[in-house]
């Protein structure tokens, strides 16, 4: 399990990428939009994982 510093960094990094991706998503052609959404979903899952790890640390 990662330390809190790594978790916060991971959260910031993934959230920043997601924010930039959302801005670009609107103008993507359909095929690229699908690819982008898949990558965004992976990033969102990473965020979920980081949050779960953070919760574990908090309740430990």
């Amino acid at each position: 399990m990662a330390g809190t510093t790594d978790i916060y960094h991971g959260l910031e990094s993934k959230a920043a990428s997601l924010k930039s991706a959302v801005r670009l998503l609107r103008d993507c052609p359909p095929e690229e939009k699908r690819e982008m959404i898949a990558l965004m979903r992976e990033a969102a899952q990473d965020i979920q994982r980081y949050l779960a790890e953070l919760e574990k640390i908090l309740s430990a």
Binding site: H9, E12, S13, K14, A16, S20, A43
Partner: protein
């Protein structure tokens, strides 16, 4: 612009995709980790390299270790990170990084990085001072350098200073260094009546008013993704300020005669030669509007307070025409002159002198042309009193202010006449007694 060769080093697949999209039109290579990045750096030539700091799990800032390799290959290293501690920023710059930005606004960040790369990085300030905004004045230079740091931000900028001090030039320089891809759109708010200003800013639909024969795009829409420069904002009515405030806040507005909103992502730079505090006190300027346009304030000094710029400006205006040589007396005379019309007056002076037959300028030639320029650019009677004179009169009384004015005029004329008092008495049409009493009072003679 030629295509740039760019290397992006990031272990995050989504970030790689974002970078590839944001750098569309450039030749982009991507690396996931330190080793492959180093291999690519050694094998190829890149103009710009974007490095994430942490590459993979449990990584110890290997992105930083790539900076020296990029510097060695002559690339422009940029760090993009979501961990912007002071220590990492210092380490990155110490290793040769040229730009450091926090992830999250790639569209505007990347445009700004490319704009800075194309103008040669921070070293280009010298170019700005020798060809864009000509100044050797240290405080003006440092103010402009400070302003350029904010050029890529969306922060509104307010430029203050008398007419002819270079407010429009500086606004354009800020736009050129902002990385914003749209146009620089300027409007002088004092040149329009309220109705016309509204139509000019917001645009209008066909038939909205008599004479509206076609739909017309307003300046706000023209400035989409660019900069809207509002000159003389003090001339704008309160109701116009309210409408514009809403458009600035929401980036959305209605053209005259339309019920469909238009959207525009513009950055506002505004300017005025008036005293903002006075405009607020007199309620000519709405406080909420003022707050919205004065994110960063830059006050440009009149030429009278930066005489070191007189000859650099003259030389710059001569560049495209006849080269001129000035006698020492002429130089002294021009440096004593206060240039009330600022840069505009210098430009007109150079045009007049260049159009004349002489290439070598004597004091007499300079004096003759200055007199003509001053009479052309003379302020209207209502503006004869400067704010400085008025403040002095309030502080010391009107009699003292009049004496001070008389002494300054006598002193200047004496200098111009090489100390010949008879000439000064004649030029200023004054009695000997007044001349001597003023010299005794202020000159210690």
């Amino acid at each position: 612009m030629n295509t740039l060769k760019i290397l992006v080093v990031d272990d995050d697949k989504l970030e790689q995709k974002v970078m590839l999209k944001s750098l569309a039109g450039q030749e982009v290579d991507v690396a996931d980790d330190y080793r492959s990045a180093l291999r690519k750096l050694n094998a190829g030539h890149y103009d710009i390299c974007f490095f994430d700091l942490l590459l993979g799990k449990n990584d110890n800032y290997s992105g930083l270790k790539l900076i020296p390799a990029a510097v060695e290959k002559g690339a422009y290293p940029v760090v993009m990170s979501s961990c912007e501690t002071e220590e990492t920023i210092n380490r990155a710059y110490a290793l040769g990084c040229r730009d450091f930005y926090v992830k999250g606004n790639e569209d505007s960040n990347i445009a700004a990085v490319i704009a800075r790369y194309l103008r040669g990085g921070a070293g280009s300030a010298q170019d700005i001072f020798s060809s864009g905004f000509i100044t050797d004045d240290p405080s003006t230079r440092s103010m402009i350098i400070e302003a350029l740091k904010y050029a890529p931000a969306a922060l509104p900028i307010l430029l203050l200073g008398p007419s002819g001090t270079g407010k429009t030039t500086l606004a354009k320089i800020i736009h050129d260094n902002s990385g914003r891809q749209g146009d620089f759109v300027a409007i002088n708010c004092s040149a329009y009546s309220e109705d016309l200003l509204e139509a000019e800013l917001f645009g209008y639909k066909k038939g909205a008013f008599t004479g509206a024969h076609d739909n017309r795009k307003g300046r706000l829409l023209q400035a989409d993704k660019g900069t809207l420069f509002l000159d003389e904002i003090g001339a704008m009515s309160q109701s116009m300020q309210t409408k514009l405030l809403k458009a600035i806040e929401e980036k959305c507005f209605y053209p005259v005669g339309s019920d469909r909103p238009e959207y525009s992502d513009f950055r506002v730079i505004s300017a005025t030669l008036e005293d903002m505090q006075q405009l607020l006190a007199q309620k000519k300027l709405r406080f909420d509007f003022f707050q919205r346009v004065h994110g960063m304030t830059i006050t440009l000094k009149p030429l009278e307070q930066r005489k070191c710029d007189v000859f650099p400006l003259i030389n710059a205006f001569c560049k495209t025409g006849k080269r001129l040589a000035f006698d020492d007396d002429a130089k002294q005379y021009l440096l004593r002159h206060n240039w009330p019309g600022n840069t505009r007056e210098v430009k007109r002076f150079v045009e007049l002198v260049s159009a004349g037959g002489e290439g070598r300028i004597t004091k007499e030639t300079a004096h003759r042309h200055i007199k003509q320029v001053v009479s052309e650019t003379q302020q209207p009677a209502g503006d004869f009193l400067t704010q400085q004179q008025y403040d002095f009169a309030l502080k010391h009384g009107l009699n003292e202010a009049l004496d001070r004015f008389a002494y300054e005029a006598i002193k200047r004329n004496l200098d111009e006449n090489k100390g010949k008092k008879v000439r000064t008495r004649g030029d200023l049409k004054i009695a000997t007694r007044l001349l001597y009493s003023m010299l005794r009072k202020y000159g210690g003679k």
